[in-house]
Symmetry: C2
Subunit: 356 residues, 2 copies
DNA sequence: GGCGTTGTTTTTAACGTTAATATCAGGCAG
DNA sequence: CTGCCTGATATTAACGTTAAAAACAACGCC
């Protein structure tokens, strides 16, 4: 776009360096670097000229060189779990997307981490990655009480933030989480408002802090309305387990008429149980799930569930990391977000023609 | 684990360099580099000694330095799409996981790419990423006829492989795909084998090559059995569209008794239509989907569908890229894999108690 | 006019790696 | 003994960036 396009010809895919920009602007390479990273060290006039040259040549700093020099790569690592066959693929897909979007927005890139087995393999994978390349920070998911990963990352001094609060009251952990208790309470309130008084809960095993949290919400709502909280199950998170638990609660002497579940997977298990008994979700028994997995909108009738604001989770995680990296002296961020109740046919008695 | 652990003390998280290993082994840094990258240039004895030192110090080459020096980062980029609300999140989750696993296995890492809007934004995002850091290769998904991304990447000379074949007979493209035609044929054969003779097809709009391919499979099977292929719909991939199309085919003068769909999303739309009409999937109307999305196993009854061998897809894509990078002079790989029919209750007339 | 001060810019060196070249020792033919 | 080749190892330089230090200019102050 200028008169000196003769100098280089059709560069393969632009490999403009600091030195080239420097020459173009008639300054040293360091000044160009400063123009971009330490604007206040330059005379305003010079800076303007340099930025023009940057623009003109389409210069982008080379991240490898930066990483080498600065020991910081603008990479954030995240480890995916293998998706289990019978789980409703809890929004990993979406979560990764929004996390990456937020990361890019903030000038980072997401790099995926892979670990063979579960427990210690993950830590080894983190360590290997750190040795091989400089990783600015990690994002953890599903942290639990006494999490080894937290201990490891902390001992290495690597910034990280967790999707899932600290369950052992560790204030120094930066986390973002969704209020499962409030969510389950909202779901219970919702079915109670439909007139149900025999409201059961199908949740996870006691060792799951997350499951415990969600169960509390159901208890809260029952207590508040002075309903008996006698119908409950603590099972693994699978369709089969949800199905069996539902059968038990429907076989009880005073059977449940509404079932509040700790996950969509469990709720879908309840739907299967109703299907096997020839009962209709919503009409005969109200069902609520948790997560608003893609499946929830696609089954018939639609599944009432709680939507986690994952886009906000992603943004907040990146922000938390950004703060950590900036050496922000304030407390690491703790963000607790509210889930949103999404009402669909599975919890409504009415006619459901064309309900989504 | 050695006598000279005094030299450094508790190194933060291992930052062993080539020079340190060299000193330990009593050779130059270059020899260590050669021991790892050009084994045949060293005397066997020396090499052994060097490798011992590498092992002892736990040395891992620094990827940033390598990337800078070699202009190759061992990074493979992949762009995620935002998941649309009413789609059965087609296995992106799993795909990413297996792709990353295969990448790590082969010594690469996956980095996620983010683009704002759809068409040209993606190309811009690729270019920006390439400018910023050296990316060894790209993985594309859902390529279509005359794909601009293919043209762009090719013009830049960057290796890439595509999940989705070349629809314009371009032999120089490396791709891995799943045989949609064979899959749909298998599904059609399956319902025909149950005695159905009025088999409809709900597929995608004509401009989708993938949809066209799947439709062909249905046509193949109909022709072979001399069945009329008059019941068909070409619609967008949404639950609503599938639902409406199903209603039409069930309102026909000689209504469909089986519906073969181009996606699970459409098939779930059919299920909704049956639900609205008080009909039972499998018993009254047979349904098949495509993709074996997580949802398929979770609805009741389970949805008969076609499972794509995505783990194999992931492996083959990485392998294809590996071959490209090695400058393998043979034709770029073309791999067409067979999907697997997964039979569940939605296509079976029989009693379905406890079917998964 | 000497001399610190301040503000701006350049020079030097280093991050860790590897291609290219240089060095060196030993073997062997002339 | 000289010269040349071969195989093994060492040295140099460079990839593109930036922190730290050095250089330089302009300015006021005694």
């Amino acid at each position: 776009m200028g008169p000196q396009h003769t100098s280089r010809g059709p560069v393969p895919h632009g490999h403009v360096t600091l030195a080239q920009v420097a020459q173009r602007a008639g300054v040293s390479a360091q000044s160009v670097s400063n123009a971009l990273n330490n604007p206040d060290r330059l005379a305003a006039e010079t800076r303007k000229r340099i930025l023009a040259a940057v623009e003109e040549l389409g210069y982008e700093p080379n991240l490898s060189a930066r990483a080498l020099r600065n020991r910081s790569s603008s990479l954030i690592a995240f480890k995916m779990r293998p998706s289990r066959p019978d789980k409703a693929s809890l929004l990993m897909d979406d979560f990764l997307y929004v996390l990456n979007a937020a990361a890019v927005e903030a000038g980072y890139h997401l790099i995926l981490c892979h670990a063979e087995d579960g427990p210690a393999g993950e830590i080894k994978a983190y360590r290997d990655l750190l040795k091989k390349t400089s990783i600015d920070a990690f994002v953890l998911a599903e942290t639990h009480h006494n999490d080894d990963r937290v201990a490891a990352l902390r001992s290495w001094g690597v910034p990280f933030a967790s999707f899932g609060r600290s369950w052992d009251g560790d204030d120094s952990l930066a986390w973002v989480d969704v209020d499962g208790r409030a969510g389950t309470r909202a779901a219970t309130d919702h079915v109670a408002a439909q007139g149900h008084t025999r409201i059961g809960h199908i949740g996870w095993l006691a060792e799951s802090e997350l499951g415990q949290d969600r169960r509390e919400g159901w208890l809260d709502a029952c207590r508040e309305r002075e309903l008996e909280a006698d119908l409950q199950a603590a099972v693994v998170d699978s369709l089969e387990a949800g199905c069996q638990a539902a059968h038990r609660m429907l076989d009880a002497s005073r059977p449940a008429t509404a079932l509040v579940c700790a996950s969509d997977t469990l709720a879908l298990g309840v739907m299967r149980a109703l299907h096997e008994r020839g009962l209709r979700p919503g009409v005969d028994v109200a069902i609520t799930g948790y997560d608003d997995s893609p499946t929830a909108a696609l089954v018939s009738p639609g599944l009432t569930t709680l939507r986690q604001p994952i886009d906000e989770v992603g943004r907040q995680l990146i922000q938390a990391i950004d703060n950590l990296m900036a050496g922000d002296p304030r407390q690491p961020q703790h963000v607790l977000l509210e889930p949103e109740l999404v009402v669909r046919g599975s919890s409504l008695p009415g006619p459901r023609m064309r309900t989504s």
